[in-house]
Amino acid sequence: MMSLNELKEMIEKELGALAFKVDSEAPNLIIINVEAPNLFEVAFKLNHMGFDHVKVVTGTDYPIEKKIELVYHVSSYTNIDLAKVIIALKIRLDKSNPKVKSLVKIWPSAEYLERETYDLVGIIFEDHPKLERLLLPSDWDQIPPLWKDFKIKTEGIDA
């Protein structure tokens, strides 16, 4: 059994300077902040450590800072110790040019998750095998719906 802190240290040692911040949050989360250019290499190393699949790919819009935060939640099926932990791999991208290298080559399980993130958040994944609209209708011409400046209607409590 490996505790969360031990694992955190191990990851810090493994990644070295590639990750600029590693946090752990109880009960099961380790957060790794990465610069966009290093992402592919970090992902490669994590995959090598035994984190073999992606659970979630999330894009979050921060309009004030003009950034989009991209998070890969990664975990393991094969290694029971690692399976107990979820790694959040975080990258901040410029909202004006949200481009990042796709991780499908490392984690094939990210294929549809990345494609959905492209669809709804507008992040462009380079080298993705099929970067097309997935959930939205193919003739969607507005800004990506999960951006904060895409407003949906709301109603008050009065009729």
Binding site: E155, I157, D158, A159
Partner: protein, 156 residues
């Protein structure tokens, strides 16, 4: 392909099981318009509103996830009315009401010809949901679980 004996046995088993069900009394059907299941007291059906208990706190309208409950101005008060076109029957409004002015009924089997009649303003809302119309008085039944037949319907 000469079938193996086990295959023949499995074919026979399947056919015999099918045949068994033809001759066993086992129907599970609730013959709806003739029989109506009495849902339990806590069933989250359509909602009845007691105008006299209401203190116009707007909690129900504010918790409604679907924005189905709206506050209407009736005289000086603001009273809730419901839009069944949107209501999702989560029952949050009933559960959060501090004065028990809203109450579950066990009516949930209605359909409408038009959209308009599904909006209930406070006064209609306080009259309770419309009673479903039956051509013949239905038999009221309760559902019992049964070891051999699964569900059993008993007259109340």
């Amino acid at each position: 392909m000469i079938p193996k004996p086990s295959t023949i046995k499995r074919h026979l088993e399947a056919i015999i099981t099918g045949l068994k069900y033809i001759f066993v009394k086992n129907r599970l059907t609730l013959r709806y318009p003739e029989m109506v299941q009495l849902l339990s007291e806590n069933y989250r059906g359509m909602i009845k509103y007691y105008m006299d208990r209401c203190i116009s706190c707007t909690l129900c309208a504010r918790i409604c996830p679907a924005d189905a409950i709206k506050m209407y101005t009736v005289g000086e008060n603001k009273l809730p009315g419901i839009n069944y076109m949107r209501c999702i029957f989560c029952g949050f409004c009933v559960d959060i009401c501090p004065k028990e002015a809203l109450e579950f009924t066990n009516i949930h089997d209605l359909a409408y010809y038009t959209r308009e009649e599904q909006i209930q303003k406070p006064i209609e809302f306080s009259k309770g949901p419309p009673k479903p119309i039956f051509k013949k008085e239905p038999m009221k039944i309760v559902v019992k679980l049964d070891k051999s037949r699964g569900l059993k319907y008993e007259r109340t």
